[in-house]
């Protein structure tokens, strides 16, 4: 096991008359050795905050981040040591590179900060090669604005690789790239896993990305993971109404494709509804009979946190279904 979070919460203090924002509100998640996990959700669901908590940029209000079983220590020295193991790749590669640094310096930044100055040339050369910028020498003296978006993202990835990390957290790594370039960057992440055994948490709004590269997927809604499991389990046989809705809006080749639209606007972490936090937008709850509503009580009964090591969905309404033969409602056993 590489990285794990337990019962993690991040609360941002009130600002400008708006109450505290519970950006992450109880999450258990685990990323195993050499595993690629996709964290999927809409904007404002807390997925970026969770990603930043994993790399130690944000300190959790409650709960723990464990690396190789050891809780993260937030002293400056310990964090710096942790940086060598876990790296972050950001959405906007143009903004993630210092415009005053050329490619060599941008990639050498990490090793230099950690005093790894022996073989610096070799390290940078290797990192750029692995990131697919060949021959690396051609790129050393170029500045970010002279590169295409895809090349910039490769430089950012090379900068992370130069520290030889065991895990990469990528926050929307391809969202700002062109469609034809997107696949190339995803291929690169897959190849790094195969060649180096690199684990990754890829944060995205795009379920297609999960299908393309992930082993497991976790769907996040309003600070909680509402469904998780292997990509095949979750994407081919979704259980949570939110996952179903997300999947339905991905355009498919089917002639009769019709999205299930959720009413209302994206959720607000400063005003989390009681009970199941999804119930105000849940189509199944809205259409449920009075008896079912009484039994499920989504509007007042809290849901427990979904455990990290099992597949399942956090939904009261699943209790109404006839018992399934496969893994069901795993959180109840947890």
């Amino acid at each position: 096991m590489t990285l794990e979070v337990r019962d993690l919460s991040v609360v941002y203090p009130p600002r400008g008359g708006v109450g505290p924002a519970r950006a992450v509100d109880g999450v258990d998640l685990r990323i195993g050795d050499g595993e690629i996990v996709a964290l999927i959700g809409e904007s404002g669901c807390g997925k970026s905050t969770l990603a930043r908590t994993l790399v130690g940029l944000v300190k959790p209000s409650r709960g723990q981040v464990l690396y190789q079983g050891t809780p993260l220590d937030y002293s400056a020295k310990a964090l710096k040591a942790y940086r060598r193991h876990t790296q972050l790749v950001l959405q906007d590669p143009g903004g993630a590179l210092n415009p005053k640094q050329n490619v060599f310096d941008a990639v050498a930044e990490g090793p230099r900060l950690h005093g790894l100055k022996d073989d610096l040339k070799e390290t940078v050369h290797d990192a750029l090669t692995r990131a697919g910028l060949r021959p690396p020498e051609d790129f050393y003296h170029r500045y970010p604005h002279e590169l295409s978006g895809g090349q910039q993202q490769r430089v950012v990835i090379a900068g992370a690789l130069a520290l030889n990390p065991s895990l990469i957290v990528a926050d929307e790594p391809v969202a700002s790239l062109d469609a034809s370039v997107r696949g190339e960057i995803l291929k690169l992440l897959l190849r790094l896993r195969d060649d180096l055994g690199l684990s990754a948490l890829v944060v995205s709004h795009d379920l297609g990305l999960a299908w393309n590269i992930a082993d497991r997927v976790a769907v996040m809604y309003l600070g909680r993971i509402v469904e998780q499991g292997t990509v095949e389990e979750v994407l081919l046989n979704p259980r949570h109404p939110y996952t179903k809705a997300l999947l339905s809006v991905v355009p498919s080749g089917a002639e009769d494709w019709r999205p299930t639209l959720l009413s209302g606007e994206p959720p607000d972490p400063t005003a989390i509804p009681a009970g199941c936090r999804f119930h105000p937008r849940c189509g199944r709850w809205a259409g449920a009979s009075a008896a079912d509503r009484e039994r499920a009580a989504c509007d007042r009964r809290e849901l427990p946190v979904l455990a990290a090591d099992v597949s399942g969905a956090a939904c009261h309404l699943l209790d109404l279904d006839p018992p399934a033969t496969d893994v069901s409602n795993a959180w109840e056993n947890a």
């Binding site: 997107r182 696949g183 995803l186």
Partner: protein, 368 residues
């Protein structure tokens, strides 16, 4: 959602500078006939050999290099391509909204009238009541210090010459038709979420009952869920009112379901044109193939753990030459002819066209 585009309003965009010249010198592409334009009625919009060239210093940068297509009344056309392919420049130049120091040549015939040469007052009338534009960033396209009602009502009052009161009634109807409670019409743009602002933009576009809506990346900055809502809304509204739509986006898969026909652009040109579903499922240009594979179908074993992309990057507009195929450097099926021959949009099946040598009729057409 009931569609009632009895409303009205265009974008009260200030005229920007442009030096349109009359018809272009050459016809690099044969004007194609859309499926609905085969009849006798002239098409709603006909674009012939459109070129847009920007000047930067002493260099000229061709952003659009000879685009031609037709759009019949009530028809929907999607324009897809990557950043820098000229799709937005092309769409905005139709209404002479391209701004800056650009030179536009060719013909843009809207109901038979060439918008590139017509006078500013005529053009303004067309922009109000004929063809309206939905821009990408709703926040920047809306005036932050005026209420939404004011902004929607303005073109209605100016164009339809109705009283403020009547205009307000229409604003309420319009907002209702895009799913925003009419009580909120006194609110300012910042009080709405991104999705709601885009709905307001759509209400504005419908205000003067246009025949054509040009939507430039209408959902790009929005979440998937909101994006689907907006597209569905737009689709319903235009279908009910018989409004033609030209939708520009980088997301090919979105267009397949919202548009009847699809134009794929690369390096300032249309490289493939045809009915959406056919273009997507059976592409006749290697670039379209690559682009459609970039959006995986969930459940398709072929794309599981196998993301598809294209090596290299889209060319910068300044680096594109007129000889040969601009896609050749990234194409897996490239051969010698691709680097020298002149590319045209060749017929590639019924209603279909492709600018690939492999699709050229003398080579057997559907070789792709």
């Amino acid at each position: 959602m009931s569609a009632d585009p009895t409303g009205t309003g265009p974008m009260s965009t200030e005229p920007m500078s442009a030096q349109p010249t009359s018809a272009g010198p050459t016809s690099a592409q044969p004007p194609d006939a859309g499926p609905n334009s085969a009849g006798t009625a002239p098409p709603l919009l006909e674009v012939r050999d459109l070129h847009v060239t920007y000047r930067s210093g002493d260099r000229t940068v061709p952003a659009v290099r000879g685009v031609g297509f037709t759009l019949a009344a009530g028809d929907t056309l999607g324009v897809a391509g990557e950043s820098g392919c000229g799709k937005s420049t092309m769409a905005l130049s139709l209404m002479r909204l391209h701004g800056g120091r650009a030179e536009v040549t060719g013909e843009v015939l809207f109901k038979g009238e060439n918008l590139l040469t017509t006078g500013w007052s005529r053009l303004r009338a067309v922009r109000w009541a004929g063809a309206s534009v939905v821009f990408q960033g709703a926040m920047s396209a809306l005036n932050p210090v005026r209420t939404v009602a004011d902004q929607i009502a303005e073109p209605i009052v100016l164009h339809d010459k109705v009283s403020t009161k009547a205009a307000e009634k229409r604003v309420a109807q319009l907002l209702d038709s895009v799913g925003i409670p009419a009580q909120r019409m006194r609110a300012h743009p910042h009080e709405f979420s991104g999705g709601q602002r885009q709905r307001v933009m759509i209400a504005m576009a419908l205000a003067c009952r246009p025949d054509l809506i040009i939507a430039d990346e209408p959902t790009t900055a929005l979440d998937v869920m909101v994006q689907a809502q907006i597209l569905e809304l737009l689709g319903d509204l235009v279908k009910d009112a018989g409004i033609a739509v030209m939708m520009i986006t980088h997301d090919l898969s979105l267009l397949a379901h919202t548009c009847d026909r699809l134009a794929v652009m690369y390096a300032g040109r249309i490289v493939e044109l045809g009915p959406s579903r056919q273009v997507l499922e059976d592409p006749r240009h290697p670039y379209t193939t690559a682009l459609s594979r970039a959006f995986p179908t969930i459940g398709d074993p072929a794309s599981r753990r196998a993301p598809q992309g294209l090596a290299g990057d889209p060319p910068r507009p300044s680096d594109v030459s007129d000889d040969g195929c601009a896609f050749a450097p990234r194409c897996a099926r490239v051969h010698d002819g691709c680097r020298t021959e002149k590319m045209l949009l060749w017929p590639a099946g019924p209603d279909r066209e492709s600018a690939c040598l492999l699709a050229r009729p003398e080579r057997g057409g559907g070789a792709l």
